[in-house]
């Protein structure tokens, strides 16, 4: 690992890992070497449950352009949802 560019955040939700569905407690976001993607560096997303062991993880590795598209899409979808389905308490 070389860049050490990383953020951690507390999240609520569910993820599907190698053992099936599990509750998520944290998300890791980093820009560093991926494990599997054929890229020098990638935007790495790891959704984990710290209390359930290191294997409780859903991993995604994206190139930078894809990650940016994803981030924009998430914000756009939430913006649409705000008008119809979300209340202030949801965000």
């Amino acid at each position: 690992m070389c860049t050490m560019i990383a953020e951690r955040l507390t999240v609520q939700g569910s993820g599907k890992g190698r053992e099936g569905w599990f509750p998520l407690t944290q998300a890791y976001v980093s820009y560093d070497h991926p494990i599997y993607a054929p890229l020098d560096h990638a935007l790495n997303l790891d959704f984990v449950n710290d209390a359930s062991g290191l294997g409780a993880r859903v991993a995604v590795e994206l190139d930078a352009a894809s990650a940016e598209q994803l981030a924009r899409a998430i914000l756009e979808v939430l913006e649409q949802a705000k008008s119809e389905h979300l209340t202030d308490g949801d965000l």
Binding site: M1, C2, M4, H33, D40, H41, D46, A59
Partner: protein, 208 residues
Amino acid sequence: MPGWDEWYKETTRRYAHHGYATISPDLYCRAGHGAPDDVTAKIRAEGGVADDQVVADAEGCMAYLRSLPILNGKIGLMGTCSGGRYSYLTGCRSDGVDAVVDCWGGGVVMADDGLTPQRPVAPIDLTESLRAPLLGLFGEDDQSPTPDQVAQHEEALKQHGKHYEFHMYPNAGHGFFYYDRPAAYRAGPAVDGWEKIWDFFGRTLQSA
């Protein structure tokens, strides 16, 4: 890659095959045990392990090696990626290192705003303290370290009169030794790089 993975374990065996007593420390062991990618994900999210801890682990390995009756008294360090950086860092900070091989270690050159509690000092700023000859292998297409950062590192080595040899391979990027990563692997530079490592350690670690 990255982490204490199959490639590193095979590389350790390769050193043994060439007659070296070798330790590949699991620098991430305190994060817990599991698949290398899961352990690495946790360490990556934490911004890496602390430099002080890595140097202490390396010194522990060296102390163990010195306790072995088969050792000729000489110790070399070799690492790739952040491991290359750690090898250089330990070569600058610890006594009893006789040779250092840095394979594309990113983060030797660091901007002030890139320093963290885990990495409080840029290794390039410790160059004056480097106690051993250094072999560096790099790829022209690498983003970390970039050729410009390698040039800065080389300039610091020259400035302090250190014994070093750097090799910059064209058409190679980060991790060109990693045969299990087809996009990174470059057979020609990898074969040549390994020959340079055996030659370098053969010269620097031979018995007096």
